[in-house]
Homo-oligomer: 114 residues x 2
Amino acid sequence: MVDQSPCCAPVLRAPLTERQSVELARVFKAIADPVRLRLLSLIASHAGGEACVCDLTGAFDLTGPTISHHLKVLREAGVIDGERRGTWIYYRVLPDTLRTLSDVLVTPETAVTG
Amino acid sequence: MVDQSPCCAPVLRAPLTERQSVELARVFKAIADPVRLRLLSLIASHAGGEACVCDLTGAFDLTGPTISHHLKVLREAGVIDGERRGTWIYYRVLPDTLRTLSDVLVTPETAVTG
DNA sequence: ACTCTGTCTAGACACCTGTCAAGATAGAGG
DNA sequence: CCTCTATCTTGACAGGTGTCTAGACAGAGT
């Protein structure tokens, strides 16, 4: 979902183009929310690497539609993917997208001197 | 600026607490903007690892106050730091904060099977 | 076919955010 | 002390975001 170019141009090594920054910001925005970060961690750490909505709603004082909204934001950003199997819809994390974000934030400084 | 606990509890390995997710989201929100991502990359890739505001405003079709606002958001999130030397204020990236974010997005899956 | 359960969509509203114009503050240099 | 430049702060406004209620859709079981 994220353009390939940002992965080879870490934020802290070379100036981002405007286009790259827009694309990266779109994905960062998707995960920059407490509910969505927790959803992400709940899905990823759930047995089998996937979770249905019914496993998730109980962890929040939020209505079903609100959880559904947040899942949609994550889905449209390419951070998770959902699949219907029978009655339930199972979500799983798409690790490539997250790794792109992670890589972009790694700097020469942090990589070398820590 | 980011609590230490998230660094030892990657998002994708164990469920985040509500407190951790709020703290992480605060920092992710700060960088989840095209202008701020470009500011970050401009500052980090500038000679000496620092840049004054006058080096930055030229890259955007935005007024000075708007750039100043974005720099403040980054500063309050602990992503950059500013220091006045004479007439100019120089900003530099605080790499520890970014590394925390980067680490949090690294998963067992991406780390191993990548 | 009807109903029940699980999930999503649509519409509405309060709050947050990005932007600008106008004015304030800090240091340099006369 | 006054002025000039660089930057920040304040106040205002348009647009975006998170949340809810009400209703729609899909599949399972009777």
